[in-house]
Symmetry: C2
Subunit: 393 residues, 2 copies
């Protein structure tokens, strides 16, 4: 890409790049066999992945992006020009952007047990996937189903990613970056494969032994378990627990934002004019029905059991936290949101201090906004200079 | 009470006063008729109340304490010497304490629709109470039960309290104080009866039009509605929805505290040695089972429908917030917790500014601690000087 000294021209070029959308396509990475950390060997593990930019000849320009709890590998760009919304970090990934795809080969994969196996652009292996041995979905692991899909961890997620990295012939990653659960994956990568990771950029994520987070994740999962249609995890081929799943997604939505956001977006308004919540329990506030509907919309492509597997994967991350933190030596750029209710500012600060204590260079950037946790997805453009500077170091 | 100049002697006296417990007893205040804000007239409304200290001859030394969502009128003292735990604000109410019962007559009542009709020390009128017209519980108001207990509001709570105040011959309150939902009642009192309220002390409570809080309250209520035993509110005389109620109380417990508290209290430990959460979904973390059990314990004396009525009362408070705030002219001492996740610090600050803009004197005190919202119940001793000074003004 032509770099001009004059600021105005750079703006014009960036504008032009944005007008011409980054187009990507989903590919499938397949492993004939994969053994989980818990010791189960699965046949034919498949995950979707996509990339932006070009891998250079010596394969030294690769940046891996890891996705959040309800996310997918669609980190940037569009699958087709006609799409309305690009990938979630499009503000910082693209030609001329903070993570410049004119320079870097950026790629991202769907995790194991991805929340959205019903999304046509997602490929994942999880409880809803067909077990090649039986021709039926693995299902939920329990006393009645010991062939159910094994419990997996953040470490399992990066082990699959590592096989993808190996398959591409990449021996060292310029950076591993990700938001929230994606941030946990950056910490895990840096600790597990220190020689393969030159930098990490964990966003809205700390790496502490956090019992509060373990229990919040349990609360997120609770509505699914309370839905009779969940049926102990046995619902494939039957009616799925959409009510519980929708309510689970509603909790995540509000927990990941702020009261100020909800007030700005919905106000203290009744769902229907004239139907006062003072007179009937059926009359509800707009914010309640709007977030119910948002949850129900997202539930359609999501899988309740996969939600529970993701919850457990995130809970397990709290184990051996001190050991993992000690193993992180890569230069680190932590980006956080001061109003984050999921990964609170004090927790992020302690994580930064722990990594710095290893002798690693740690930069910390605070995002401004009223979206709380979600600012780590929505407000990343604010951090573009810090990110570009971090990559230039 | 003898007041000595020497600080050491005062400490000795306070020590002595604390050693000798403040003993109180629950009384019942009964109204032959009460008309709610929504226009329903109820027969025989009863609420429990208790007091500490002595009402003086001209009835000018009365302080009213309003309770929080899951609380009762048991603000201080004990019902019997043998009781292990005194009322929740015992640290600041008693002889020689910040709210000095040697000087003030302090009293507090159970609200309408109190959460704990099953607590032998609670008297309340709500959906679980017997409707004198039918001899059966009022039940939950819905299409099948239009004689169900009416939806009530924070304003209804203080209207019942006002009848109690009137019955005692008290024409002016030295202060109205309360934590959380009790704080909302202090704002409502100051706005509704400005000539009767000399001061308010709202603790861990703001008075904004907060749509986020409306939806968090809806999330608190969700597990009850998801429990099939809730049965649209029709469960009196049948098996109550204890599972949903316990989970609702669990959400409140964690929301009202902090992750740091949970980590300190439970750590990242398994419920049972050897039962790793990495191998089975039945194996859970100690924090999950401990908070489940705490919720289940509290559910035994609580009533699921009453929980839903309290949720709605708190939601309704968000309406006409600006109008209410404008009407508050009483000197105000706001005590808050910077880590509060229910009533966030920024919201408390805006409430303080709005009242100050009316020309009222407003003092704001921050509590130190890692309990979040709950510091407004557990850490009030920190504010004793501020409270005593506020009362002396």
């Amino acid at each position: 890409m032509l770099r001009l000294v004059c600021g105005l021209f750079v703006v014009a070029l960036v504008g032009s790049a944005q007008a011409q959308d980054l187009i990507t396509k989903k590919q499938v990475f397949e492993l004939p066999s994969f053994t989980t950390q818990s010791g189960r060997t699965l046949k034919t593990v498949k995950v979707g992945w996509e990339s932006y930019g070009t891998l250079n000849a010596d394969k030294s320009n690769a940046i891996l992006i890891c996705h959040f709890f309800s996310g997918t590998g669609h980190a940037a760009g569009k699958y087709a020009e006609a799409e309305k919304v690009p990938g979630y970090w499009d503000a910082i990934i693209g030609p001329g952007k903070a993570i410049d795809t004119a320079k870097y080969f950026v790629f991202s994969s769907d995790t194991l047990v991805n929340l959205s196996p019903g999304d046509p652009n997602v490929t994942t292996t999880g409880p809803a996937s067909i077990d090649p041995d039986t021709g039926k979905p693995y299902g939920y692991l329990n006393e009645k189903n010991d062939k159910g899909f094994p419990i997996v961890s953040i470490r399992d997620f990066i082990e699959v990613q590592k096989k993808l990295v190996d398959s591409l012939g990449i021996r060292k990653l310029v950076m591993v970056a990700g938001a929230s659960m994606g941030g946990l994956q950056t910490y895990e990568w840096a600790a597990a494969y220190p020689d393969m990771v030159s930098r990490i950029m964990p966003v809205i994520a700390s790496a502490e032994a956090d019992a509060g987070l373990i229990d919040w994740l349990d609360i997120w999962a609770m509505p699914i378990r309370l839905d009779p249609k969940w049926n102990g995890g046995d619902y494939y081929g039957k009616e799925p627990p959409l009510v519980g799943l929708a309510q689970a997604l509603k909790i995540v939505t509000l927990h990941a934002q702020t009261n100020a956001w909800a007030t700005g977006a919905f106000g203290v308004k009744w769902t229907k004019d004239g139907d006062s919540p003072a007179t009937s329990f059926s009359n509800r506030y707009l914010v309640e029905t709007a977030l119910d509907n948002a949850g129900a919309g997202r539930a359609k492509t999501s899988d309740a059991n996969s939600f529970l597997y993701l919850v457990r994967a995130n809970q397990l991350f709290a184990e051996r936290a001190a050991e993992r933190l000690k193993a992180i030596k890569a230069p680190t750029l932590i980006i956080y949101s001061p109003l984050d209710q999921v990964f609170a500012a004090d927790s992020v600060k302690r994580t930064a201090e722990a990594i710095a204590a290893n002798g690693a260079a740690v930069d910390v950037v605070a995002l401004q906004g009223n979206r709380g946790h979600l600012d780590g997805v929505l407000s990343m453009k604010q951090a573009e200079k810090a990110i570009a500077g971090f990559l230039a170091k």
